[in-house]
């Protein structure tokens, strides 16, 4: 068939095809650069035509992202990205929709749209650039800032307890949650590809560094010295091992997790939990999401990936049902339906 032939002729898209002509305007050293690079690296692997990809964002440093992608892009208003993206996706379900948010954008002003997108399981990919600060407005604390953080708006330290994105996602019925980090381009690329493949709302939290207003916020897990001991990269079907020589692992003890070392106290690989991202019951996912230094490593990778019908799939099925029940197939039918009369 001619059409297929034509498609095959199209050269594969490359990383360069996805970079727009706009000057990138983040601060030198900002973690957002490596996320951008991972994204332009990931998209060619998906084999989706450029014109079928849409980046939607709210407002913030992170939200500048769409300008730098040579795809369709919509830089909207603060916090409303998930709502706009929902409209884009439902209006044209064949589009690949990426929604970019900062932690303030997603979890402060946009918190409601965020949890409702997850509940509805709209088939979009939400990328949360979590720098634990308001970057664009020059350094106020955010809903993910740790208690006590001194910022422009909290000269005596933040009083609040932070949200943990993963917990909120699971509490809001999320079907997909993964966590990655701006210092690991390979993992980001991998995860972006997997997020695109998940049907339903894919929520990717990216620990991102804001060099200007909250430098080293993720230092406890990114520092070269700590990295191996405080990052646990999980993979579906694999044991949860970490450490320089993968000698440490997670074991279940009642309803708590504990770190054990292979070979010590008779611990063998059999004792180590094996990751099941597809388990619908989120109990263990929730436990994993919560781990953090210094007691535990932080868990990176796809923590939850459960398949449930996405909203737009259900919608298509609904249209069918609606058609079956209906006596009319066009507006003229509808206008003439029911109780009408003619004046002659």
């Amino acid at each position: 068939m001619a059409e297929v032939a034509e498609k095959e002729e199209k050269p594969k898209l490359t990383k360069k095809d996805f970079a727009s002509d706009q000057l990138v305007r983040w601060c030198p050293g900002c973690g957002d650069y490596s996320i951008l690079s991972a994204m332009t690296g990931a998209l060619p692997q998906l084999d989706i035509p450029k014109e079928d990809i849409v980046f939607v964002s709210g407002i913030g440093c992170a939200a500048r992202f769409p300008y730098y992608m040579n795809t369709y892009g919509f830089h909207t208003i603060h916090g409303r990205g998930p709502a706009v993206a929902t409209g884009v996706k439902l209006a044209n379900p064949k589009l690949s929709v990426w929604e970019i948010q900062g932690d303030g954008d997603a979890l402060a002003i946009g918190g409601n749209h965020f949890i409702h997108a997850l509940r509805r399981n709209i088939d979009i990919n939400i990328l949360l650039f979590n720098n634990e600060i308001y970057g664009l407005t020059k350094g106020q604390y955010s809903p993910t800032s740790p208690t006590g953080l001194v910022t422009k708006s909290t000269p005596y330290g933040a009083l609040e307890r932070p949200f943990h994105a993963g917990e909120l996602v699971l509490g809001a019925q999320g079907t997909y949650y993964s966590r990655t980090i701006d210092t690991n381009p390979k993992l980001m690329t991998e995860i972006f590809v997997k997020a695109a493949q998940h049907v339903g709302t894919s929520m990717v939290e990216i620990l991102q560094n804001c060099v200007i207003f909250n430098d080293d916020a993720h230092g406890a897990v990114t520092d070269r010295a700590n990295r191996d001991d405080f990052q646990l990269h999980i993979e579906h079907g694999q044991p949860m091992l970490f450490g320089k020589e993968k000698q440490k692992g997670l074991r279940l003890n009642g309803l708590k997790l504990e770190v054990v070392t292979l070979g010590e106290n008779g611990v063998t690989e059999k004792d180590i939990l094996v990751h099941d991202a597809h388990e619908p019951d989120s109990t263990l996912h929730m436990m994993l999401v919560r781990l953090h230094p210094p007691e535990f490593p932080i868990v990176l990778g796809v923590i939850r990936d459960v398949t449930l019908p996405a909203y737009s799939e259900k919608m298509e099925e609904e249209v069918k049902r609606s058609g079956e029940k209906s006596k009319y197939t066009c507006m003229d039918d509808l206008l003439n339906s029911g109780e009408t009369w003619e004046v002659k």
Binding site: E51, P66, Y67, L90, A91, T329, M331, L334, L335, V343
Partner: protein, 618 residues
């Protein structure tokens, strides 16, 4: 009125127009009764207009004033534009219904009461100090004391139904009485009952029996000595149906969508009195309607903007409080120059205000409820049926001019209904979206049509047109972010000019009357019926008075100033504190406008308007 001929036969009184009002407890089926009477009268050939008067409470305690539900209809052998000021015939199914509806009864008119409901407990519950039937409170009316409940019960004795179901038939008894009083056939309602209770023949039978019994009862009793005759009106030929404003709005959008071969995306959050648009649209998924009941009004409008961006028809609707929430997002659509239609079904305010009552006080919000210079096209429907036309026009203008449109309706239009000569789809005007087409050069998302200034549109999925837009100020043509001072001024002005130029694409303002003279009555939106009726009545009485009713609020029709200049006096009538009058003052600083207002959650009454106009004509 209440004469009997010497021979005992009853008289017949011919009338141009008659107003009926049914009132009873929420559960008494008054809305159904009213609609059936209206439908039968429409088939008979009357012109008519109806208005339901819902209680503010969902279901207040039985027998209380808060729980009373009403339905008013005016039928005529002449054109009818309002449900009427005062009822010639009021049916009150209990004391609470009488208590809260007496103010709508014309002095000298007929009041029909279900006497069985007038026991001491009910009378007290209604808040009467004594029995109104006995203490002279109704002396000014022709009261018909009908034992409706007990007669219904007796009539249905043989039928196998529980007591509750039997008592539910008493509204049909009352309807039967009305059919006799207005000389209407029972057959249309019988047909309706048969089809409604297809699966419950006992119910169908019971209702029909109650209907007949009521009819015969009316024929018999002395208290109803005369029948009214309201012959068919001269009505334009064509196919008709009843329609309420909210349904007409929904259908108008669906019609535009079919014409444009795009889908509707309706993002909405329920709110009185706009929710019925959502209810209606959500029934028609297979006609290309997507509805999303969003988490809030902001998500509703934002998802609609997303849908427009993706190439479908982004719609949202709400009432005042919800519209206030949408302002920021509407500003985004203005800046991004995306089509969007926002319906404001106005209700009494401020704040939560009087949610079930009508008002016209959101014109300022529609014009100005956004930060900075955010001009918007603003339209207003003026009758229940023409909500269809203006929903259609709103969609056409939003897409042909690439900018948001606010469509104002109100609680009165939304719930009111009238017979509608509905169009064929082939008659509806075309809608042409300025889509970008490949021309060998790079796509410029803010390149404009020279005439309309609308930008050329490209949507995701169109290969080769990839581009980025957003809420920051944009460089002309390229749409790149620009902080350039001159460019900003140019863009602010071009967005304003684009909206101004819509005046070239809308009809000139019409006037009912001479086009010049002593007094011009100006109105807009949902007050059409009462203004039109008042002015025509005075006009027939030889007064020098004209009426211009606006559907296009911003921009105003091009001939507006010239039209206004033909009059000695202009009075702007509206259900707010004078917002449209102020808008006109801003637009036409050289003209003088009087402002006549009412802010009671109620439509204008024809009588009060006529009084005012006569005063102004002095």
């Amino acid at each position: 009125m209440s004469e009997t001929l010497a021979n005992g036969k009853k008289t017949t009184v011919e009338k141009d127009k008659v107003v009926l009002r049914f009132a009873g407890d929420s559960g008494d089926g008054m809305q159904l009764t009213g609609s059936q009477f209206s439908f039968t009268s429409a088939l008979f050939g009357n012109d008519l207009a109806t208005f339901p008067d819902f209680p503010a409470e969902i279901r207040a305690p039985l027998g209380t004033v808060e729980g009373v539900s009403g339905f008013q209809v005016q039928i005529g052998q002449v054109d009818v534009y309002t449900p009427g000021d005062l009822a010639d015939v009021l049916v009150a199914m209990n004391p609470a219904a009488l208590k809260s509806n007496l103010r709508y009864a014309r002095v000298g008119g007929t009041i029909i009461l279900d006497m069985d409901a007038f026991d001491k407990r009910n009378i007290e519950k209604a808040g009467f100090s004594g029995n109104p039937v006995e203490d002279g409170a109704l002396d000014a009316y022709n009261v018909v004391e009908a034992p409706i409940s007990s007669l219904t019960k007796t009539a249905l004795e043989g039928i196998q139904l529980d007591n509750k179901s039997i008592m539910r038939c008493k509204n049909m008894f009352a309807l039967g009485m009305m059919y006799w009083l207005f000389d209407r056939p029972l057959s249309d309602t019988e047909k309706y009952l048969d089809s409604k209770f297809k699966k419950m023949p006992a119910l169908a039978e019971a209702n029909k029996k109650a209907l007949h019994t009521g009819f015969h009862f009316a024929e018999t009793i002395e208290a109803l000595p005369s029948m009214y005759k309201v012959p068919p009106a001269k009505i334009e030929k064509g196919k008709y149906r009843h329609i309420s404003g909210n349904i007409a709005t929904a259908w108008g959008f669906m019609a535009a969508a079919e014409k444009m071969k795009r889908k509707i995306f309706y993002g909405s959050y329920p709110i009185t009195p706009a929710s019925d648009i959502l209810h209606e649209l959500s029934k028609h998924k297979h006609l290309g309607v997507i509805t999303l009941q969003a988490e809030d009004e902001i998500a509703a409008v934002c998802s609609a903007i997303g849908a427009s961006y993706a190439g479908q028809i982004g719609l949202t609707a709400s009432s005042g409080p919800g519209i206030a929430l949408k302002g920021e997002a509407i500003g985004l659509a203005i800046m991004a120059e995306l089509p969007l239609i926002v319906v404001d079904v106005q209700r009494g305010g401020p704040s939560t205000g009087l949610p079930t009552k009508t008002e016209q006080a959101d014109i300022n919000l529609a014009l100005y409820g956004r930060n900075s210079e955010s001009p918007c096209i603003v339209l207003a429907a003026s009758t229940p049926a023409n909500c269809f036309e203006f929903a259609y026009m709103a969609t056409k203008l939003a897409f042909e001019h690439m900018t948001p449109v606010m469509l104002l309706t109100d609680g009165y239009l939304a719930n009111g209904s009238e017979p509608w000569k509905y169009p064929k789809m082939a008659e509806m005007p075309d809608i042409t979206v300025p889509m970008a087409t490949p021309n060998g050069e790079a796509y410029l998302p803010y390149l404009r049509n020279k005439e309309t200034l609308a930008r050329y549109f490209a949507v995701p999925g169109m290969a080769g047109f990839e581009h980025r837009i957003g809420g920051l100020e944009k460089q002309e043509n390229t749409g790149n972010v620009s902080y350039d001072p001159r460019n900003h001024e140019d863009m602010v002005k071009v967005r304003a000019e684009k909206v101004e130029r819509v005046a070239n694409y809308i009809p000139e303002q019409k006037v009912m009357g001479e086009g010049k003279g002593k007094l011009l009555v100006v109105g807009w939106g949902g007050t059409y019926g009462s203004l039109h009726t008042s002015v025509s009545e005075l006009w027939k009485a030889g007064k020098d008075i004209d009426h211009a009713h606006f559907n296009y609020i911003n921009p105003l029709p091009k001939n507006t100033e010239q039209l206004f200049s033909g009059y000695e006096k202009i009075v702007v009538c509206e259900l707010n504190m004078g917002q449209f009058a102020n808008h006109l003052r801003g637009k036409f600083p050289k003209l003088q406008f009087e402002s006549y207002t009412k802010i009671q959650g109620l439509p204008f009454a024809v009588t009060e308007l006529k009084e005012k106009f006569i005063d102004l004509l002095k």
